[in-house]
């Protein structure tokens, strides 16, 4: 199996999303782009674990998914304000 082109396409997607983080009008749009970037990073970490044949990449992907979810919730609470 050749996993390398899949990682290349995912990195292109991540670059597009990071450009939207830098450009985007307003904080909620930036938060959406950030969430999308996290999803793509998790997918590319799992594929990198299969490509390099190391299971530690996939463990990192699990922890990254859970921590990025926590960070998304906290930033959403910060932007929304008031009671949550």
């Amino acid at each position: 199996m050749n996993w390398f082109p899949a990682v290349i396409v995912l990195v292109v997607c991540i670059i597009i999303c990071v450009a939207r983080i830098l450009m985007g009008p307003g904080a909620p749009t930036r938060l959406v782009a950030f969430d999308t970037t996290n999803t793509l990073v998790v997918a590319s970490l799992v594929i990198a674990g299969m490509m390099f044949n190391h299971a530690i990449f996939i463990d990192v992907a699990i922890v990254y998914a859970l921590l990025s979810f926590t960070m998304t919730l906290y930033v959403a609470k910060y932007i929304g304000g008031g009671k949550f």
Partner: protein, 118 residues
């Protein structure tokens, strides 16, 4: 091999939907449609990519690989974590965007406003 062909098809579907989600994040006019495109498409694409990894790891595991067993099970865990966190995070983002005063681009009727005042 049939499994390799199925895996390549799954990788193709996953990459296509991830790319469509990223382009939709750029092209849609306001934040809610951006959220719609980005979250749904990237979740669907990532499911297919991780399922491709799970199939390959399970194949090597069935042929006697040792480290692939850990890889297969942990990829399933990563898939479950991704499924739970993406949907919940998108819900939280949409609610906080509405509460911070962001309006849809061409909205005419806002039913939620009436409901919150009651």
């Amino acid at each position: 091999m049939a499994l390799n062909i199925v895996t390549y098809i799954f990788i193709g579907i996953g990459l296509f939907f991830n790319l469509v989600g990223s382009v939709g994040l750029h092209r849609f006019p306001d934040m809610y449609t951006k959220l719609h495109a980005a979250t749904k498409c990237t979740t669907f694409g990532s499911i297919f990519l991780i399922i491709a990894v799970i199939m390959q790891a399970a194949n090597i595991w069935a042929q006697g690989g040792t480290s692939q067993s850990v890889m297969c099970i942990h990829a399933v865990l990563a898939l479950v974590a991704l499924l739970i966190t993406n949907a919940t995070g998108a819900h939280a983002i949409a609610r906080t965007a509405y509460r911070s005063g962001e309006k849809p681009a061409k909205a005419v009727v806002d039913d939620l406003e009436k409901k919150e005042n009651d």
